[in-house]
Symmetry: C2
């Protein structure tokens, strides 16, 4: 089979299928046939089934009536909703963290991350390195979610973030698009500062509202990009209509 990472055939097949789905090679609604995939990947049906099960757990596939799996369809509206839902869940995570209180060590750790992002802004105000920002931003969102004392909330948030277009780092711009991008990042970073401050001061409602507003930046960026497709983000390939 194609050289993809993983220790078992099932994991490799899952990786392979996941890539194909995210790239849009397997559009929403496509039915997956065990035999065809098994032949294509040069493995037996058993690991193919296993792989499909795993992707169903991730929410990328749905079980079809009468057995089998279908690639889950995501409409453009679904993508916007998933981003908003991420904001709601992040907001809940931050509110619970604020209400429960967070140790100063953890607060300092987050502040360190934020400082790293700050350091990426030059004094001149030109756009920071997008690769670096994307990585740090994702790290920030992961670590801030870990502040939430509820494992249930953490895991459901993680679940929503695993949808390829709902991740906080999904729609970081590909190229430098005028001032829009820089401005968005400046605002987002202001949110980052405010979020940790709200948590530190145990202002739960404020933390929650900030997380929601923060997600709306991602949503707005997507809405603006969608109007001018251009070389669209690959994670959008799986949108069906």
């Amino acid at each position: 089979m194609t050289e993809t990472r993983g220790s078992t055939h099932a994991k490799r097949a899952a990786y392979d299928l996941r890539q194909r789905i995210v790239k849009g090679e397997l559009p929403g609604g496509t039915r997956l046939y065990e035999v065809a995939l098994a032949e294509e990947l040069e493995i037996s049906r058993t690991p193919v089934r296993e792989a499909m099960s795993r992707l169903a757990e991730e929410g990328l596939l749905e079980r079809a009536r009468g057995g089998g799996f279908v690639v889950r369809s995501f409409t453009y509206a679904d993508v916007l909703d998933a981003i908003e839902l991420r904001g709601v869940l992040e907001g809940t995570a931050l509110r619970l963290a604020a209400e429960a209180g967070v140790s100063s060590e953890k607060i300092q750790h987050i502040k360190g991350l934020i400082a790293q992002i700050d350091a990426g802004f030059s004094a001149a105000g030109d756009p920071p390195d997008l690769e670096a920002y994307s990585g740090l931003n994702e790290q920030f969102h992961d670590d801030i979610a870990d502040l939430c004392p509820s494992g249930i909330v953490r895991s459901e948030l993680q679940r929503v973030k695993s949808l390829p277009f709902a991740s906080p780092s999904a729609f970081v711009f590909r190229r430098r698009e005028s001032q829009t991008m820089t401005q968005s990042i400046v605002i987002a970073q202001a949110h980052h500062h405010a979020m940790i401050e709200a948590i530190e001061r145990r202002e739960g409602a404020r933390a929650e509202a900030l997380a929601r507003e923060h997600a709306l930046i991602a949503r707005r960026n997507l809405e603006e990009k969608a109007l001018a497709p251009g070389e669209g983000n690959p994670a959008l390939a799986l949108i069906v209509d």
Copy 2:
């Protein structure tokens, strides 16, 4: 194998395992062994694996490192958090419904359900029939979630509700416990009225707040019951500590 419903061995096995987990016969942390289960259910390993996959999708099992599945552990705190999370998601669903607007037909349908619950209250103020209330209450929660225009939010809410202790109908009292139960139901029903009114008037924030407060009733009821276990709710059997 034991006479459980389902058309395939895998579905029967999933049903059987689900029952055992919810009843607490398979406590959190228990590792499930394919061979043992297969012999016990008198089927082969294949449908057992299939059943475990399905339960993993439901969130009742987790994949263990090195393969296999483990019964997911739910602490008492997890149960409380899951109820609160249900409130958050129901709140989001209602808010989105209110913001988008809902047709008067659907509003009337919900109002009809509420009226049916109202009819269960006698003029004397004695407790309504719990079976009937539980059924109508569950129906209300299902139907009101359907008002949400976002399929993503609906499905994630459905997912959380599928946790056996987070369902709106999970902790309806078993016997008539003084006035506590009656009072709770009266308050809950007031919330029901207010929710649909908020949606009708497109008051999103109010609808959201109501849904959260509504879930807190369920949470408080559980907290009070937990202090005096008695003949506890069976859905609580899967709590590990």
